[in-house]
Symmetry: C2
Subunit: 407 residues, 2 copies
């Protein structure tokens, strides 16, 4: 059930049973008219799993959450945008714990039962008075209607132009479960992961180890296959809460597989939306690489193509400059036989056997220009390794947005 | 003797004895008013060395030259711009040999005594009639005056805004030698090497193995420490011709060291000029990394910072957003202790001990805005590994230039 990528999803996906959300304006963002504190709560203690940035320089909330997940007994997630609480040292860790404690107080639970997410500017201390007041206000607004869901999704946005929401339903052993996911991310998006936060909620019951495995696999296929600018964030986090409020026993076997499939679809949909909402983007690049020895080699080639400013600007200019794509594959560090490479752009074969294939450049250019998605397909041999990767083009608007984000 | 980076160098550096150059307009470039064929000849048989792209997808002239160098007995180099002769298969190899043969005929030497360089669009076949006519015309124009040198330098340019020339003199065992170097490169510049061609000429006598070692070391310190967009070209080549026309014996020991030092300075000067002339650049980024376990780790951190679109746009916007720099170091793949990191921007300490250091943001911003060069200094520990790396900022003009280079 992928959401419409060009607007607020309609209808807003349903929340799983036993969850409530809120988003409020706490004045952390420069623009006081925007939500910047989001609270998520589960009426029942939930199993939690997390997948985090692999950046050596990671933010305080990442350190806090990583120590607690996977585990049981979680009652909420508190999120702020406008400030990443990264590169903030010991005081930053205290502030992350302070956010959890404030949310615990507001929800009537222990601080250690609350996970924490932050996103925004790096290297500034959190304005804890505003954050704490925002958390208390959010606790009074918790709900499950569309308004609450949209406010919560907006409360985690930074340069995103729209909230990113998706939902799915699955059945297992006669019970019907709901899965809901929301995310933010439009730049500092580089594998592994992205300057992205995502929260996935389900009313199924999961063992912590199973929840962690399903989430890791889903993130690997989605958030680790998207890049806007190749810059890996200090804050990337995906959290899953599974509260069992739908009833039914803890999932195993085929039930677990159904849950994993729903999770994979939801994360895939959100990852594509991040590329589509990439700062200044006019095109989504869908890069399919196949014929590699393994999946990681395919990922490496796809990522190198995805991150090349020359490929990204060519797509922006609707320029079928396939030499830039082939040469990017060539410096990816993956060994392959150039003569075995085949390259297709929006389905048109452009390069095979080490030499160009004649093609109608005007038609291919028009095809790029007239579609939001540009499909780049690269086959490098006969191996089983393949991947699907999303990126966005590089535009003058990306430069403008990032040349003065801070000041 | 670094050249002025903002204009044609004045005075034009002198040619070493026994070399003549020419550059002519052969109609390979779309703009017929620009030189696009350059010929270099040595009156005496010269030792040649080459350093080449490590891209798996390499152009026909790279394959041709790589098979011949290092070696003795070379009489010339033929260069075309406007067409890279890359991804052109067997026909491309024939065309590279054809260029060498045409130059040999024009110079009255064997084709195998001539090396070949091409730069420009990838994936189109060379217009061999125009190339051959251009070579014949260039042979009639060979000379050593400023006009000939500038025309030759322009004949290898693509999107460069100015010729890149430098010269040096050195003494050894009582003899005085001259070294001259010219290069092109303004984008598709990514380590290792760059979409760059460079030709270095000296009237010293060198053994081929020594020439190769000196050139490899000089390139490693210069062209492999520069990145404009991180995209490694199919055509990167640095060639050295040493013809011994100054007299004196073949260099060894301290004489060789003096030659190596001159070579290193010349290549360093040209590499910095490439970053300075990076497409659309408004700033050169000079990135100094130290305290690593070894030089390759320092290079990896520097390159990751150099290639981050978020760092590059922050510099363009004169934004002291140091969190982007620290986080780029953090995802470079090099292991270090974040708490040991120190970051300085144009000399001002911004980050130490895992936490921000208070600073005057307006003053640091003004310092970036008012200077062409932005100095980024990162220390990650106590190790001996260090490097100096050049890059350019990312601007809307880079995007514009590359969104429609092809069409």
């Amino acid at each position: 059930m992928p959401t419409d990528a060009t607007a607020v999803p309609h209808p807003i996906p349903s929340l799983p049973r036993g969850f409530r959300l809120a988003g409020v304006k706490a004045g952390i963002k420069h623009d006081a008219s925007r939500e910047d504190v989001t609270l998520v709560t589960s009426d029942l203690p939930a199993t939690a799993a997390g997948v985090y940035t692999t950046n050596l320089v990671f933010a305080a909330p990442v350190a806090y959450d990583r120590a607690l997940t996977p585990g049981r007994g979680f009652r909420g997630i508190v999120i702020n945008s406008g400030n990443a609480n990264a590169c903030t040292g010991v005081r930053g860790l205290d502030d992350a714990r302070g956010m959890a404690a404030a949310a615990g107080t507001a929800l009537g639970v222990a601080g250690e039962e609350v996970l924490v997410l932050s996103t925004g500017i790096i290297g500034e201390f959190l304005p804890m008075e505003k954050v704490t007041a925002g958390i208390a206000a959010a606790a009074r607004e918790l709900g499950g209607d569309d308004r609450a869901v949209l406010a919560a999704a907006r409360g985690m946005m930074t340069t995103d132009t729209r909230p990113k929401l998706t939902g799915a339903a699955f059945e297992a052993e006669g019970s019907r479960y709901t899965l809901f996911a929301m995310a933010k991310g439009a730049a500092m998006i580089g594998p592994k992961m992205a300057t992205m936060l995502a929260v996935v909620l389900t009313d199924a019951a999961l063992d912590p180890a199973d929840a962690q495995r399903l989430l890791t696999e889903a993130a690997d296929d989605s958030f680790n296959c998207v890049s806007v600018d190749g810059h890996m964030s200090t804050n990337d986090t995906v959290l899953l809460l599974a509260n069992g409020a739908a009833g039914g026993s803890t999932l195993h076997g085929s039930g677990l597989a159904a849950c994993g499939e729903a999770l994979r679809k939801a994360c895939g949909s959100l990852a594509r939306e991040m590329a589509d909402d990439g700062e200044g983007a006019t095109h989504v690049m869908r890069i399919e690489v196949e014929g590699c020895r393994d999946r990681e080699e395919a990922r490496r080639i796809a990522r190198t193509i995805a991150d090349s400013p020359l490929v990204k600007t060519a797509v922006h200019g609707a320029d079928p400059n396939w030499g830039r794509i082939v040469s990017a594959a060539g410096y990816s560090g993956v060994a392959f036989e150039p003569a075995a490479v085949e390259l297709r752009l929006n389905g048109t074969l452009l390069f095979r056997g080490g030499a160009p294939v004649p093609f109608d450049a005007d038609a291919v250019s028009a095809g790029i220009r007239d579609r939001r998605e540009t499909l780049i397909q690269v086959s490098v041999g006969q191996g089983p390794g393949q991947i699907r990767f999303f990126s966005s083009d590089l535009t003058a608007d990306y430069v403008r947005l990032n040349a003065d984000y801070h000041t």
